[in-house]
């Protein structure tokens, strides 16, 4: 062990090639993920060139004529663009503000609960919905929330003495609430895991000392537990902001109906409809919209990372 450290140290100033050669086993392991990353994340980026072309399959990607920013203009001039951008931002911000703090609160609560077995049961139960596929989840949601034949309708009718419940799914403005809160139900247990893990690594001596000093349970949470998970939380926040424009398009698409389209049409569903589902697939326009989406996302990510670094000293780059 000691010998190896010395060897490594002695090569501290050696050339890159030599340093790689020294640890070739590690680099060998790195090859597979690297190949994956290049093949599936970087190569397809070349397709972004479609956003600046009028793509027809017969001419191929490089043979199709350049059109400059025409596709972007088309998107911004279309009647849908403003509402689609607005919906995307509102939905994702709402989702972020709700689904980011809740797992933290949940983990903190779970952490102060006594009884290991009890905790484990709760954790498993809240964890299960994460494994439902989106399609199953959405149809489950529709069945439960049906105002006549669903659990919601049945409960309402029973409790109100025979009255028919109001139709929550027909109220377009409810879309965001249903979307976000069903997401909370589905993912809280899963997202809490990382905080639970972070909490378990809290130094027990701090807790003991605090207890001797007469700190209340709440004070211990405030002064020990929260500072412990703060670095994790800030990184998770940066990651969440990085995904902010990628609100799940499958779930949104499945939840759309004629009365909530004003709230539920977001960039990703619009891209899908224009690019693939429409009778006249328009790959170029679709790519342009997708690219616009990614650029905004990128800016937000850099901003969030910068802020997080400034505030807590933690960032992902």
């Amino acid at each position: 062990m000691a010998k190896k450290t010395v060897v490594a140290h002695s090569h501290g100033n050696a050339t890159l090639g030599k340093r790689i050669l020294d640890r070739w086993q590690l680099y060998l392991l790195l090859i597979l993920p690297l190949v994956w990353l290049i093949t599936f994340c970087y190569v397809p980026m070349g397709g972004l060139v479609l956003a600046f072309k009028k793509y027809t399959a017969a001419k191929g990607i490089w043979g199709s004529p350049w059109v400059g920013v025409q596709n972007f203009q088309k998107f911004f001039n279309s009647a849908k663009s403003s509402i689609v951008i607005q919906n995307t931002l509102l939905l994702s911000l709402y989702q972020l503000f709700i689904s980011f703090p809740i797992p933290i609160l949940f983990a903190l609560l779970l952490n102060v609960l006594p009884g290991v077995k009890y905790k484990k049961v709760i954790q498993t139960v809240t964890y299960i919905p994460y494994f439902f596929s989106t399609v199953v989840m959405v149809s489950l949601l529709f069945q439960l929330l049906d105002y006549r034949i669903g659990l919601y309708g049945a409960l309402y009718t029973t409790l109100s003495g025979g009255k028919v419940a109001p139709n929550v799914l027909a109220q377009g403005s409810n879309f965001r609430h249903i979307y976000v809160w069903s997401g909370v139900w589905q993912a809280t247990g899963y997202q809490a895991i990382i905080y639970i893990a972070a909490l378990s690594s809290a130094d027990q001596s701090l807790h003991e000392a605090a207890m001797i000093d007469g700190a209340s349970r709440f004070q211990r949470v405030l002064h020990i537990d929260i500072p412990t998970i703060l670095p994790t939380a800030s990184i998770m926040l940066v990651l969440a902001v990085g995904n902010i424009m990628n609100v799940g398009y499958e779930k949104t698409l499945l939840m759309q109906n004629n009365l909530n389209l004003n709230y539920s049409e977001i960039i990703s569903t619009y891209t899908y409809k224009v690019g693939l589902a429409s009778g006249v697939p328009n790959f170029s326009l679709s790519t342009a919209i997708g690219m616009f989406n990614s650029v905004i996302n990128f800016i937000l990510l850099v901003l969030a990372n910068f802020t997080s670094k400034r505030l807590s000293g933690n960032g992902i780059f």
Binding site: T56, A58, K163, L169, N258, G279, V280
Partner: protein, 547 residues
């Protein structure tokens, strides 16, 4: 050691023999690669009566590539295939179950994925069966499959009949009418009174005010009840053809948008009135097929009026308590005397395309033509003769059907004798593929699986529907129009979004999200922002060109 050698020898010999066997089969039977839209109800495609029938008759071997069941998935798949039209993995023939849109076929055809087949289609030697189709129907087939660029990239299926033209059939709860001592309504105003009586009179007698007046959903086969009712004010095809545009009834020549007319607005007022009275359910705009069937089949019937194309919404309709309470009623007459029903023209669906890259064009053409053979067309739809259907004169003796009863034809000539269509089966491809049967043939078919024809049977509605619905449409309708690629490009927003937007706005007006008086101009402005005037202008030009 010796043993091993012997074994090796035997193995080697047998391998050589299989090689020969393989060669001789390949020589005898050319292989045709067919990409086929699957159906979840077909249990086996290899061991399938129709597959074997085609293979034996044409002396070929069919190699399947399966396409998705879902239409959007199929479009996506074809769009992706069209990005590499020279790929050796492409099939020889596509069978797409009418999943591609006109514009999609044109685009894939011009991109070189599909072969232009008009020269073969017009050549009686290459396609004898297709050329044997009677001239009137042949003209419809040619028109439906000829694209705006003048080429024909697909082979259609055409099976005219009377039932599917008018799927927006209104079913009213007759048991409730009788219980409350009411007459069958014939006008929209009478309907409103009936629905209010339903609301207040607890006709299902469970002591709860759980009756839904008007119910439906935005489905594909006549379930959109608000569209059915809107046709008592102005003719609208539910957006199912040409984005819902129609011909102005003053000259039957000018293209206009019914959903911008004053009559439309009156219709919205009427529907909004029903909604405000609590007799029209907002679920019409949110429910899906599962909800629809569940609500229609509650233990205690709760639906007063719905529109539906198929009786299969009530499982086992003949003994279904919910269905037996229902009665088919004629389209209602509006305050201006309008009583139309959406007319869903049975345009030939585009079923089969030939890959431009194939090296077996002649075989693929022969394969396509086979589907237009009279016998093949029957088997494709009806299954195995003698098992699923019959032409046996002894069995036909004394049979009649709804069309014979109303005098549309003189006798039944084909009996359907099994219910395989409703079951998982390996008899057919479930009618995926081109096909032609004449209206005359269709009218002579009778499904005997539920017993001989009984005019009092509540599920035997074909004759009644013909009498009550078949003629309720404007004198002249817009035919299916085909845009060129440039025209499509100009109207991209409208073609992608207008149809959905009209339905969305309709839902919003009826439920009060938009105000019919104050927000009407904003609605017209919204339509304009999707490019409605441009769409009308293009449609008019294409219509004038097609005349």
């Amino acid at each position: 050691m010796k043993k091993t050698r012997l074994l090796a020898l035997v193995l080697a010999l047998s391998m050589v023999m299989t090689l020969f066997a393989g060669l001789s089969i390949a020589e005898e039977k050319p292989v045709l690669k067919v990409a086929l839209t699957t159906s979840s109800m077909v249990t086996d495609y290899e061991d399938n009566y129709f597959t074997n029938y085609l293979e034996d008759k044409l002396g070929i071997e069919i190699e399947f590539q399966m396409l998705p069941v879902d239409a959007a998935d199929t479009r996506q798949k074809i769009a992706l295939l069209a990005t590499d039209v020279k790929s050796p993995d492409l099939p020889d023939v596509f069978v797409v179950d009418n999943h591609l849109t006109t514009e999609g076929i044109l685009s894939a055809g011009m991109n070189g994925l599909f072969l232009a087949v008009e020269d073969y289609a017009n050549n009686p030697e290459a396609m004898p069966n297709y050329n044997a189709i009677p001239a009137d129907d042949r003209a419809i087939l040619d028109m439906a499959s000829t694209q705006a660029d003048g080429h024909m990239y697909s082979f259609p299926a055409y099976e005219p009949e009377t039932w599917n033209y008018t799927p927006f059939r209104l079913f009213l709860n007759k048991a409730w009418l009788d219980k409350l001592g009411l007459q069958v309504p014939t006008t929209t105003e009478e309907l409103k009174q009936v629905l209010i009586a339903f609301r207040d009179g607890d006709p299902n007698g469970n002591g709860k005010a759980d009756e839904i007046g008007v119910y439906g959903y935005n489905g594909g086969y006549g379930q959109n009840t608000v569209a059915a009712l809107m046709n008592s004010f102005v003719y609208w095809n539910n957006g199912q053809l040409n984005c819902g545009l129609a011909l102005d009834e003053s000259d039957y020549d000018t293209v206009y948008a019914p959903f911008t007319s004053d009559a439309w607005r009156e219709g919205l007022r009427y529907l909004k009135d029903l909604y405000d009275e609590g007799v029209l359910s907002a679920s019409i705009f949110t429910d899906n097929d599962t909800n629809f069937k569940a609500i229609l089949n509650q233990e205690e019937p709760i639906v007063g009026l719905t529109s539906a194309g198929s009786l299969s919404n009530w499982p086992n309709a003949k003994e279904n308590k919910n269905f037996l309470e229902m009665q088919l009623i004629a389209p209602l007459t509006g305050p201006e005397g309008v009583n139309y029903t959406p007319w869903i023209e049975q345009w030939p669906g585009q079923e089969m395309m030939i890959c431009a890259n194939t090296d077996k064009v002649d075989l693929a053409i022969k394969f396509a033509d086979e589907f237009y053979d009279y016998e093949t067309s029957l088997i494709e739809r009806l299954g195995i003769e003698g098992t699923d259907w019959s032409r046996d004169p002894a069995q036909l003796e004394g049979q009649t059907n709804a069309y014979v009863e109303v005098g549309l034809t003189d006798s039944v000539k084909i009996l359907i004798t099994s219910s395989f269509w409703a079951e998982n089966q390996n008899h057919t491809w479930r009618n995926h593929g081109p096909r032609y049967t004449s209206l005359a043939t269709f009218l002579t078919i009778f499904d005997i699986t539920n017993g001989p024809f009984n005019p009092d049977d509540p599920t035997q509605l074909n004759g009644k529907c013909y009498e009550q619905y078949f003629f309720n449409r404007p004198e002249k309708l817009l035919p299916m129009l085909k845009f060129t690629e440039d025209e499509t490009e100009e109207n991209l927003d409208a073609l992608t979004y207008l149809g959905d937007f009209v339905k969305q706005a309709m839902a919003e007006f009826i439920t009060g999200v938009r105000d019919i008086d104050n927000d009407w101009d904003a609605y017209l402005a919204d339509l304009e922002s999707y490019g409605l005037s441009q769409l009308i202008a293009t449609t008019q030009a294409v219509y004038d060109r097609s005349k």
